[in-house]
């Protein structure tokens, strides 16, 4: 589904990614771990097309197509979803209205009929219930006045609604207490399916107790320095990142 080859990227003239190689197939969950400043959030944002980063080399194929050629909104409509580390607040824009615009943009892109307000409300009520999201949250402005946990849950809710092919979670666990972590993980696990791939970017092993990855990659100074199975995460938990960086 996703083939990243020798990907290099910089921001404000500073080189951050120095040649990333990564292959993700449908049905897999990959965890990207690494110390602060290793470039793991940058990788997530570059894949989503954040304008702050400039790709200076390498290629990314998504379902055989050149992902880097696509605008961020086109990537999203094609099925790339990123759950933000810091979800953005949009004052005065109703959460449900925002979701409807997003979903219909995607449906339109794929030649499907756009949902009207009634169909849409029925759909989000059903999805909200499945994810334990209160109705009230849908009627508030996008992320405005949400607690940290609510914001992350809202991200997962959007993901559930938009049903991406590739979901990228950018440090979704940061700032979550254990209860919120469980709810978020439950949401992610519920979406696991043979035709969907997930990339989980995280600093801590903790999240991986709940979202069990198929592969773990360790990033250091803009490169993947070690890859392995889920046991690699446990090893990191015990030894810290030092032993890999030193190696």
């Amino acid at each position: 589904m996703l083939q990243v080859k020798n990907l290099q990227a910089q921001a404000e003239g500073k080189e951050i990614l120095r040649g990333i190689n990564l292959e993700v197939s449908a049905g897999e969950v990959h965890a990207i771990m690494g110390p602060n400043g290793s470039g793991k959030s940058t990788l997530a944002r570059v894949l989503a097309g954040h304008p702050e980063y400039e790709v200076t080399g390498g290629t990314v194929l998504f379902e055989g197509r050149d992902l880097l050629e696509m605008e961020p909104d086109e990537r999203a409509r094609e099925g790339v979803f990123m759950a933000f580390q810091y979800p953005v607040e949009i004052a005065g824009v109703n959460n449900a209205y925002f979701l409807k615009a997003a979903l219909n943009a995607k449906r339109k892109h794929h030649g499907q009929q756009e949902l009207d307000a009634v169909e849409f409300m029925a759909l989000i009520r059903e999805r909200a219930k499945a994810l334990d999201i209160e109705q009230g949250m849908l009627n508030r402005a996008v992320n405005e006045g949400f607690s940290g946990g609510e914001k992350k849950r809202n991200e997962i809710f959007q993901m559930a609604l938009l049903e991406p092919k590739l979901a990228i979670l950018d440090e979704t666990d940061s700032g979550l207490d254990i209860d919120a972590l469980k709810i978020v993980s439950h949401g992610v696990n519920a979406l696991r399916s043979p035709d969907r791939a997930t990339i989980v970017v995280t600093h801590y092993q903790r999240l991986l107790n709940y979202i069990v990855p198929d592969y773990v990659h360790v990033l250091s100074a803009g490169r993947i320095v070690k890859s392995g199975g889920k046991e690699l995460a446990l090893e990191l938990e015990q030894k810290g990142y030092g032993w890999i960086e030193a190696a």
Binding site: H50, E71, V88, F98, A105, L162
Partner: protein, 481 residues
């Protein structure tokens, strides 16, 4: 950073779709302003002597006045002798019905989406259409007359209802008020007149649509609305003009009188030609709008969506005379490219337990400069007066500016006054967040801006809220991409 800023600027480069010119045979008097011109306008309208005298008093005073400079606006000096003060489409005879409106003029309003044939009208909206200096059509008059409502052009009101005009003309905005209001008093040519009798709730929205068409012409209209005791009226004005390289002056006066228990809602969607993206051309909009809540529990609400004009200078105000009277001001002002706006309100609390609310949303894009200027004055007898003001500014791009000048004068210690202000930048992060969900940049900007303006839009009559939202998205088109 660069991508969004560039695209933000692209969105600013929109086309003004009302910029066409109608080739209609007009009668325009030569440029220049003298006492003869004032007499000529009055004579053309076959006005009574008292009105001519009133105009002349204004004109003589105006000659001694200086253009104000306290505003936060920069523009080339206006040459008042280089403007024609009267222009009207020629007509063969007196109009007896709407069918006799010049087909070209009718076509113009059709093109603007303002059909002046009643069967085509939005249900529930009566329209007075003003083309350059004269009112060309007023719809639904008979139905309104059935409940005693007078809705007609100003000229007609002078002829048909001289006592009402004489009693209220200048009662809220005296001819001595300010440079532009005094100029208007001397040369005003037409406008709308509304009278709602005691106890009547106006059954439909009333609306005036102003169109400047002729070249080198100023538009100086006057609107007077009187709501008798316990009556209600909702009134909307809209305006457009052709694209021209020269600036054109628009100096209007609006006076509202709300008597005991009466409510007037006055909404404006101002979309005069804003000039091109280099700041060439555009309307200079210097307008004086004021209402008096003359009785107990009267209420006046001003709602404005200001997207047009090269220069906007207007402060729709409320004089809260009656006890428990209420004044409200809801405003969205956008300045894009080289547009400048200095706008706000004055809430003058005189009665006891008077309340006022001010919600101002300024949006600046391109090189636009947006100033909020508002005065809240609580007089010494205005016991228990309350005011709440909220001024929010949004910046799109990094070459525009937002400024806030709140003035408070409080002479009664029982007053409660709150002021909140904020400035935000339409963030690259917000736009990226929307795009990551599949929403295009343009839709994202519209969504973010509409969210920002929500508190104002919901005050507009429903028929126009959608139009206002569309207009706003057109006016910011090209400011992000």
């Amino acid at each position: 950073m660069s991508t969004s800023t560039e695209t933000i600027e692209q969105l600013a480069n929109r086309e003004y779709k009302y910029g066409f010119f109608t080739d209609v045979e007009s009668e325009t008097i030569p440029k220049g302003l003298t006492e003869e011109v004032v007499r000529l306008i009055s004579a053309k309208k076959e006005e009574p002597e008292w009105l001519l005298e009133w105009r002349l008093k204004a004109f003589r005073l105006w000659q001694t006045m200086k253009e104000p400079t306290w505003h936060n606006l920069r523009y080339e000096p206006i040459d008042y002798q280089d403007i024609a003060y009267y222009s009207a489409p020629k007509k063969k005879k007196v109009l007896n019905s709407l069918d006799e409106v010049d087909p070209e003029v009718k076509a113009t309003f059709d093109k603007l989406g303002i059909p002046i044939e009643e069967q085509k009208m939005l249900s529930g909206v009566a329209v007075d259409a003003v083309f350059d200096s004269v009112s060309v059509a007023t719809t639904f008059r008979e139905r309104l007359a059935g409940v005693g409502i007078i809705f007609c052009s100003f000229s007609e009101a002078v002829r048909e209802h001289p006592d009402l005009v004489k009693k209220y003309l200048g009662s809220v905005v005296p001819y001595t008020d300010n440079f532009f209001a005094t100029l208007n008093s001397a040369v005003f040519s037409d406008g709308s007149f509304v009278y709602i009798p005691k106890g009547v709730r106006c059954p439909m929205e009333l609306s005036t649509y102003f169109r400047i068409n002729a070249k080198d012409t100023g538009q100086f209209e006057r609107t007077l609305i009187i709501a008798e005791e316990s009556s209600y009226v909702s009134y909307l004005e809209g305006c457009t003009a052709p694209m021209r390289d020269e600036h054109q002056l628009h100096a209007a006066v609006v006076e509202l009188v709300a008597l005991e228990d009466a409510t007037i809602k006055y909404s404006t969607i101002q979309n005069w030609y804003p000039g091109d993206k280099n700041g060439k051309g555009g309307i200079y909009n210097f307008v004086t709008k004021r209402g008096v809540c003359a009785g107990n529990r009267s209420k006046i609400t001003w709602t404005q969506v200001e997207t047009g004009s090269a220069i906007t200078w207007k402060y729709p105000s409320c004089i809260l005379q009656g006890d428990h009277s209420i004044g409200e001001f809801y405003s969205v002002a956008t300045t894009n490219n080289w547009q400048q706006a200095d706008t706000g309100t004055k809430m003058i609390h005189m009665g006891k337990h008077t309340r006022s609310t001010i919600v101002s949303k300024g949006i600046s894009a391109g090189q636009g400069q947006n100033t909020y200027r508002g005065l809240v004055r609580i007089g010494k007898n205005a016991a228990h007066a309350r005011n709440y003001s909220q001024c929010d500014s949004m910046l799109i791009g990094d070459k525009c500016g937002a400024h806030t000048f709140p003035y408070l004068e409080i002479k009664n210690t029982s007053a409660r006054v709150e002021h909140e202000a904020s400035t935000s930048k339409i963030g690259e992060d917000q736009i990226f967040y929307c795009r990551q969900r599949g929403i295009s940049t343009e839709d994202a900007v519209n969504m973010i801006v509409s969210g920002f303006c929500k508190e104002v839009f919901r005050e507009l009559p429903m028929e126009f809220a959608v139009e206002a939202q569309k207009l706003l998205s057109v006016s910011l088109e090209g400011s992000v991409g």
